[in-house]
Amino acid sequence: MTDHEPTHLTDADEAAVDDAYVDGNALAGDLLEIFAMDMTTAVGTCGGCGRTAVLAAARVYRRAPGVVLRCAGCSHVLGRIVRAPDRVVVDLAGLRSISARLPD
């Protein structure tokens, strides 16, 4: 609780409370944990056909301007990775979800 937390809620205040986000800096720990894992063993769900498989089972096309990850079932583009000299662009929009097992 902070000093700014309202003590008495009106209907208008309720909407504000539903929108009670914190800024993205709070993600640092979560993202570090996720992106430090070997993601090839993570299970992805294809946004095209719904097939569920480890990312290692997807098809990778790398004789291209970038790396393209495609579903082995329907060929839907699961993700793209483009490496520029000063940055890397990762697009995983073709995956509905990724499920990774946490280390014991």
Partner: protein, 199 residues
């Protein structure tokens, strides 16, 4: 025995003013692909041009070949840094394909069999700068290089020359394509070295 050198070795690139910055010359024709190669039989191939109002022009293989054909010799520049000079193509100019299209749109999205897309300003396709090519080096264009027919926009990086072309859509608003949404430059002019976002 002294090694045989060509010219001044490390200065080779400086001696090739015909190459855009950061490119090197190849003699073969590398095959790049972001997915499985579509094999479209010419008798099932079609090309459409769709305006922003939904009006559509459509050519099958025979109708496409009945259009005026042009032979062109052009240089190719791939964003992965290879360039190939003096390549010979036969195809139909975009000036011909777009001649009867009524549009006020400023942008085009090229669509390929297999789902690939790339975008460019309409003006980049006009004025004898772009073709839909079906013949390479006097042979029917192979599927590996984009046959039955591919877009050929040689003054831009080669990812703009969509292989396996099947549609051109005119759009009032710019719609970045497959690589343009994933880190590659929206315009892709090799002479200005527009490779990546921010270049």
């Amino acid at each position: 025995m002294a090694p045989v050198t060509r010219g001044f070795g490390g200065r080779q690139h400086a001696q090739q003013p015909e190459l855009p910055p950061g490119q090197y010359l190849v003699e073969d024709f590398p095959v790049l692909s972001a997915g499985p190669t579509p094999h479209v039989p010419p008798d099932r191939w079609e090309l459409t041009v769709t305006s922003e109002t939904g009006e559509q022009l459509r050519w099958d293989w025979d109708a496409f070949h009945a259009l005026p054909q042009e032979d062109v010799v052009v240089d190719l520049h791939c964003v992965t840094r290879w360039s190939k000079l003096g390549t010979s193509w036969r195809g139909v100019s975009l000036d011909t394909l777009l001649a009867d299209v009524e549009t006020s749109a400023d942008h085009v999205v090229a669509h390929s069999y297999g789902g690939y897309t790339t975008n460019m300003p309409l003006d980049e396709l006009l004025h004898h700068k772009a073709w839909v090519a079906h013949t390479y080096d006097d042979e029917p264009l192979s599927p590996e290089h984009g046959g039955p027919a591919r877009l050929l926009v040689p003054h831009l990086y080669l990812w703009k020359s969509a292989k396996w072309l099947t549609g051109l859509t005119l759009t009032p608003v710019d719609e970045p394509g497959f690589w343009e949404t994933a880190g590659y430059h929206n315009e892709g002019d090799p002479w200005r070295e527009q490779r990546y976002w921010g270049d």
